[in-house]
Assembly symmetry: C2
Homo-oligomer: 302 residues x 2
């Protein structure tokens, strides 16, 4: 089924102990769309500048990614620069230049308005809400990502958007900040009162925890010998997760559990190379193989 | 089969946001023995002072715990005092009084010398080695715990003891410190060269990771709404783990995976109450039920 994502399409400068790139295609929506496209057709809503050229467009071509909703305007695209510590466990942001993103007013092309799976990437909650209001049919499921900035600065707007959200996908710190509760199970109960019935807590190398009001599911981080660039891991997770749900076409306990695994699979591939590179070379057979490795990694008999 | 543990039997003063105890039975060997006794008979090798009375002895009574090897000498028992932060994620040691533990020279009673499962708790590697040398038949499996203190101060002695160890059970920081390698999979390869073919990395609320030279297994931390006292979680994990192996009587991929789950089950119970309390009220049916919850927590279909 149709999956729509709104979020950033950007350029990143990334430095890790394994290398450095000055300018590579990035942004949450880019990682999300590439990851999700292995499972279902993806429609992207974003804004880019004149520096987004045929070269960048080509990365998405020949995949099931519709860029009709990517508005190109005068100016430069969103730019982010960051450096990771020796052990990749700390990240320093060196630059954040919003550029054309500062005036982003998402407009859905008519052909997007029947999207049944929607992912609201980490942008201003008011813009997330405006995307939802442009969707004509009631979507099957709405997923949402956010961050400390919006939790602090626009709490009322975030609360309003959360009322229309079924799946909240954030990290532990954001969960604690949003709910004012350190314990994640108790925090989830606060989230349930805000709207979402499913909380997916992304925990980086420690995997992800799903707290649904009827069940709990935990998936470990995939142990890798080499992580080259953690950028976009969470967005690739979200893409694999929502892409799998859109492919399944229904949201229930079993598909949510599998979505967690496929999200983790895509997140684990994303970090193997710089930027979106690994997501562009991936084969379906590799995804299936790694999903099976997740089974081996976690299965036991009592 | 017979399981032997050497380690500390102590008194603890513990302060957490949920309460405070001035003097409660503690020590790694206490947690280990109580946890393991749900699976197999346990033989304890430790030293205590005159303050270890009938009251403390009674905690172990009517369980399959043999205290013949607990030497009682003039003086006071090992004493530890610690305070946990509001979120239980940080611990400050307020006092460590070795007392009679400073002169601990473990001596195995004759009846212990045929022990086939052995756990060398976190004590001086030279003493760990001396315990092994007193075991007459070649043990089926030797597990070992250690800490930063021994890794820094007695590296040669630790290396020597590790040569006779099959399962190393430590936390992430200790793994990194011991091997000088941040990546846990690469760290495990260093450990394999030291002797153990199995590395169990305890990760607190994030669960545990087992890296064997033939397979990898991950178990999550059990999500709990209330953790009252994290003290002894790792030792209870070790007790559940080794106890299960001793009960199974054989060490293979399947029993190692199950041991990880039962270790996690016992660790998760231990933190529900102060000190060893929860380990003394636990029923076998509760253990079985929680082990099944671990299945639900982690199972999925592709």
């Amino acid at each position: 089924m149709s999956l729509l994502v709104v979020g950033s399409v950007a350029f990143d400068a990334i430095e890790t102990p394994f290398g450095k790139v000055d300018r590579t295609l990035g942004g949450a929506a880019s990682y999300f769309a590439l990851a999700a496209s292995y499972f279902a057709p993806v429609r992207v809503v974003a804004i880019v500048g004149e520096d987004f050229t045929e070269k960048e467009r080509a990365v998405f071509r020949n995949r099931r990614i519709d860029l009709t909703g990517v508005e190109r305007v005068a100016g430069k695209s969103f730019f982010w620069a960051g450096r990771y510590s020796q052990n990749l466990n700390e990240r320093t942001t060196l630059a954040t230049e919003l550029n054309v993103f500062a005036n982003f007013r998402p407009t859905l092309p008519d052909v997007y308005c029947d999207s049944s799976f929607i992912f609201l990437g980490n942008i201003d909650p008011t813009l997330q809400r405006s995307v939802l209001s442009q969707v004509k049919c009631k979507p099957k499921v709405v997923g949402l990502d956010t961050m400390n900035y919006w939790i602090e600065r626009t709490p009322a707007e975030l609360r309003d958007t959360l009322k229309h959200t079924q799946i909240l996908m954030i990290n532990d710190d954001e969960t604690r900040q949003l709910t004012g509760e350190h314990n994640l199970l108790r925090a989830a109960k606060h989230v349930f009162k805000m709207g979402p019935r499913t909380l997916v807590i992304k925990r980086g190398e420690h995997g992800a925890l799903m707290v649904h009001d009827k069940f709990i599911f935990s998936v470990p981080g995939f142990p890798l010998e080499e992580v080259h660039d953690p950028t976009g891991a969470g967005d690739s997770f979200a893409g694999g997760f929502m892409g799998y749900l859109a492919k399944a076409g229904r949201v229930n306990e079993q598909t949510l559990r599998s979505a967690m695994v496929y999200g983790s699979v895509l997140g684990s591939f994303a970090v193997e190379r710089f930027g979106v590179e690994r997501l562009t070379t991936l084969k379906l057979a590799e995804i299936t193989r790694r999903a099976r490795l997740f089974s081996k990694l976690t299965s036991f008999k009592l």
